[in-house]
Structure formats: C-alpha cells, structure tokens
C-alpha cells in the first residue's frame, strides 16, 4: 500500500504555549496581584491586570504566547521600547523625540474592523 501520511510531523514554534491559553483556571488560581507596566523609565505605569488575567485564563482566546512574543518592540535610534498594549503616556514618558517617533506618519488599524462586527465570533478562518 502506498504510504500517504507524512513520515514525520515536527514543529518548531510555540505550540505548547498556545495550548496553555485554553486551559481552565484552577479554583485556587485567582490572581491577587495587580500588574503594572511601562515602556520608558520616565513614564508612569499603566495597570494591565485585566489583560494579564484574561490571557492567563484563556479569556477571549488570546494567550500569554503573544504577550511575550510582541508586547514590546524596539524603536531604534536610542529611543528604547514601545508597546501598543499600553496607554501612550506609559510608552513615551517625557521624551519628546520618542513621542514624535511613536506618532509619526505611519497609521495603523485600517484592517481588522469587520471581524469585530460580524456574528462569526471574531474568527476570520472558515
């Protein structure tokens, strides 16, 4: 019989982390601490406890995998780091050059709105 299945299936990426996103929370796993973050040492902190909690619990489907994967990006030019998950005041601090770079001509958010307004449960695959 002609062998039809793959000889081996190995993965390199973060699949085990993805799987953990959907695990139900243990009863005694309530998060007591509040979580604050900032992306600049001159900036005030933003509380992200809710985001953190949702990700730990599987919440809306997003997981901790992506929290560590891309929460902070390096801006280059000695400007340090930025994160779209934080309030802007916690990203730029009192660094006007960083504020300028953060707000420069690039616009974002022009794709993705339809998924939030359909009844397909935010999923785009079919």
């Amino acid at each position: 019989m002609k062998k039809r299945s793959s000889k081996a299936v190995t993965l390199l990426l973060i699949t085990s982390v993805l799987a953990s996103c959907n695990k139900p929370k243990a009863e005694n796993e309530e998060i007591a601490q509040k979580v604050f973050m900032r992306a600049d040492s001159t900036a005030p902190y933003t509380e992200v406890t809710q985001n953190y909690s949702e990700q730990r619990n599987g919440g809306s489907g997003m997981g901790s995998a992506l929290l560590w994967y891309m929460a902070f990006r390096h801006m280059g030019g000695g400007l340090g780091y930025a994160s779209g998950g934080l309030n802007q005041k916690s990203v730029v601090g009192n660094n006007p050059a960083k504020a300028l770079a953060y707000n420069k001509a690039v616009s974002r958010g022009g794709f993705g709105k339809t998924s939030a307004t359909t009844s397909s449960n935010t999923k785009a695959g079919s």
């Binding site: 019989m1 299945s5 793959s6 299936v9 709105k113 359909t118 999923k123 785009a124």
Partner: protein, 379 residues
C-alpha cells in the same frame, strides 16, 4: 467507509494540548473527536485525490474565464480592485492552500463538491498535526492516513521561497481567535522549516506610511500571508491602499482567490461544466426547476444564512449577517449519515497537490463552526 470506535483515552485533552491544540473543546463540548474515527479504503482515498486534482484544474479554468470575460459583477467585487486581481493572476502571485468540501452519497458512491474554501480555510492544524499524532498514538505505524499535509506545506513554502520579493515573509490574523492564531502559527512554522525568515503581527497592527504597508518596526511589508478574508479587506479603510501600494506587496492567498472563495464560482463552474459528475447543479438568482436545493449567500461563512429546501419546503435554516450580495441555489446533496450525525469531507490542495482529508460532523445538515472534527485512517 464506516465509523469505528476506540477505547477512550482519558488523558486525550492533555495529549492534544501538548501538541499545541488549545481549541479542542468549546464550553466543555469537544470539537475534536478522539474516540471514534472514519475507516476508509485506499480506493476511496484515491477517489478523493482524483476528484480534488480534477476540481482544482477546473477551478483554474474558471478563474481564467471570469477574468477574461470580466464577470466580476457576479461576485460583487469592487471595481477598484479588478486590476489587482488581474495583476495577481498574471503575475502568478503564490498560493499556498485551499480546502474543497465534499458531500458523499454512500448509496450512489458519488462525491460532489459543496464549495471551495479557497481564501481562509482553517482546520489545517488539526488535519496536518493533531490527526497525524492521533494515528501514531492509537495505531503507531500499523495504519495509514490520507494526510501528507505537513510535508506538503514545508515543500510548498520551499517552492514559493524564490518568488518572495523581500527577505521576510509576514503572517497576520485577528487578535481574538486562538483557532486562527494556531493555524497561522502552524503555517509560519512550516515556512520557517522551509528556510524562510518570518514575522507575525495582528491584522490591525499592519501600518500604512503613505506609500506602502509596514510592520511594527516600520519595515516595509513585501510578502504577507493573511488569514483574513479578501471581501473584508477590500471594504475596510486600507482596502484602497492595497491597490496603491508602490511595493505591490504579494498577499497570500493572492487576490485572484476572491473568485474561488465566492460561492458564485459554483454557478460559474456549472455553466462551464454542465452535468459534470463532481458538481452539483447550481444557479444564480433562482433555483430553476429544482425542488430540493440549498440557498447560500455568495459570501457566507461558518454556515450562516443558509436555507435547506427539500421538496419545496424549508427543512433547515440559519441566521447571520450575510446575504446582502445575493445568493446561489445549489442542488441538495446527500451527506454521509451515521448515528452520530451528518458528515462532510474536507480535502486539502496545498501547492498544486491534493494531500490530505478531514471529516467534519454535525448534528444537522448545515456544517458550522461547532461541527466536530473526526480523524480517519486507511485500512
């Protein structure tokens, strides 16, 4: 072909989660079926392989027909985007995958194409990875499976690599769906194994700098795989930017797949290949003389806004947000029926190759996002 039962593995959730499969259940109800499966013959696997290969060729002819005759109005594709579709077709912008859905009549031994998920098909991860490991767990190497999805994905990315315009291939999907993210990460994993440099960002993080698309580091996007429907993209704020992009980024799946992922293609195929044994009779506008048919929106997803009519009576229907663009009327097909439900067959074409199948089982005639995934073996 028949359903066979296994002794339930009480640890199955942990087993599949260790593979990275985090959406095996919803609200405690399994979407992944671990303790029964479809047993199919090698000749049946051959039949699906041949049908998939033949339909893929027919679909390519149909795309050529639609483009040559500019039949975009049948698909409700915006005027401004016709040129982009033609450019992606003429430039042979790479395509990686698609999934045909088949009905199978067990009495007549007849496969019929229900539709082609050509743009944003999912269940790839459970087919290529979870299903394969499921077979290893229960049967080791003693059984076979129509499932070289993983190998074919890696090979196809290798073939695509020389045609990428830039050094990095971006991948994107929506934020809120673990299922979509897992499918995209699986595709990205295979691309990495093919030696491609990759980056992931969410669809709403894609930036526009006035002349081209950029990633989170403001670096140009030249090649990008998106798990996000074309019909949504072209109607969103950045839709026109796709056509105005000076870098002419290669979007995968390419925009010519808009023609195949639209159910209007089912009526076009029937016009081009009337009475073809793999096709169901399908029309625009009305059911003609059919008394048993399914009314489907051109752009419906996950079984929304479908009506099933048998002997001129509605026997099933679903609600949803679709149907504004119009409907097609498709002959009612006979589905695989077992004690546990109705099943359809998903058949993957990756690169240019038919390479794997999956079964989806539903309590009703209409397959939706709660339909169960059933593994299979050839024996």
């Amino acid at each position: 072909m028949k359903i066979k039962h296994l002794v339930k593995d009480t640890n199955w959730q942990n087993r599949v989660e260790n593979l990275g499969y985090g959406y095996h259940s919803e609200n405690g109800i399994p979407y992944w079926i671990d303790d029964y499966y479809f047993s199919i013959s090698e000749s049946f696997a051959d039949e699906i392989y041949k049908a998939t290969t033949e339909l893929w060729q027919m679909c390519l002819v149909a795309v050529e027909h639609v483009i040559e005759n500019k039949k975009y109005h049948l698909f409700h594709i915006p005027n401004y985007f016709h040129h982009h579709i033609e450019r992606s077709w003429n430039n042979e912008t790479p395509s990686i995958y698609g999934r045909f859905d088949f009905a199978y009549d067990q009495v007549r031994n007849q496969l019929k194409m229900l539709e082609f998920n050509a743009d944003t098909p999912t269940s790839l991860f459970e087919c290529g990875v979870v299903q394969w490991h499921w077979m290893q767990h229960y049967f080791g190497n003693s059984k076979d499976q129509f499932n070289s999805v993983h190998e074919q994905l890696v090979n196809s990315w290798k073939e695509i690599k020389p045609y990428l315009k830039g050094e990095s291939l971006h991948f994107t999907c929506v934020r809120e769906s673990l299922e979509d993210l897992s499918n995209v990460e699986y595709l990205r994993d295979c691309a990495i194994q093919a030696g491609i440099q990759t980056q992931l960002l969410y669809i709403d993080e894609i930036g526009w700098n006035g002349s081209n698309f950029v990633d989170l580091q403001d670096q140009p996007i030249t090649d990008i795989f998106k798990l996000y429907p074309w019909e949504w993209m072209v109607n969103e704020e950045y839709g026109h930017h796709i056509a105005n992009d000076i870098l002419e980024a290669q979007w995968i799946e390419p925009s010519w797949k808009m023609i195949l992922s639209n159910k209007a293609i089912l009526a076009v195929l029937w016009e081009l290949y009337p009475h073809h044994p793999l096709l169901l009779e399908t029309y625009f506008h009305d059911p003609k003389n059919m008394t048993s048919f399914v009314k489907k929106p051109l752009l419906s997803r996950e079984g929304s806004n479908i009506s099933v009519i048998s002997n001129n009576k509605i026997i099933e229907s679903t609600t949803g947000d679709y149907g504004h663009e119009g409907f097609i009327y498709q002959q009612l097909a006979t589905l695989i029926k077992n004690h546990s439900g109705y099943s359809i067959i998903g058949s993957w074409i990756i690169g240019q190759e038919s390479c794997g199948i999956s079964f989806r089982e539903s309590d009703s005639l209409i397959t939706n996002d709660r339909s169960r995934f059933i593994p299979h073996v050839i024996e």
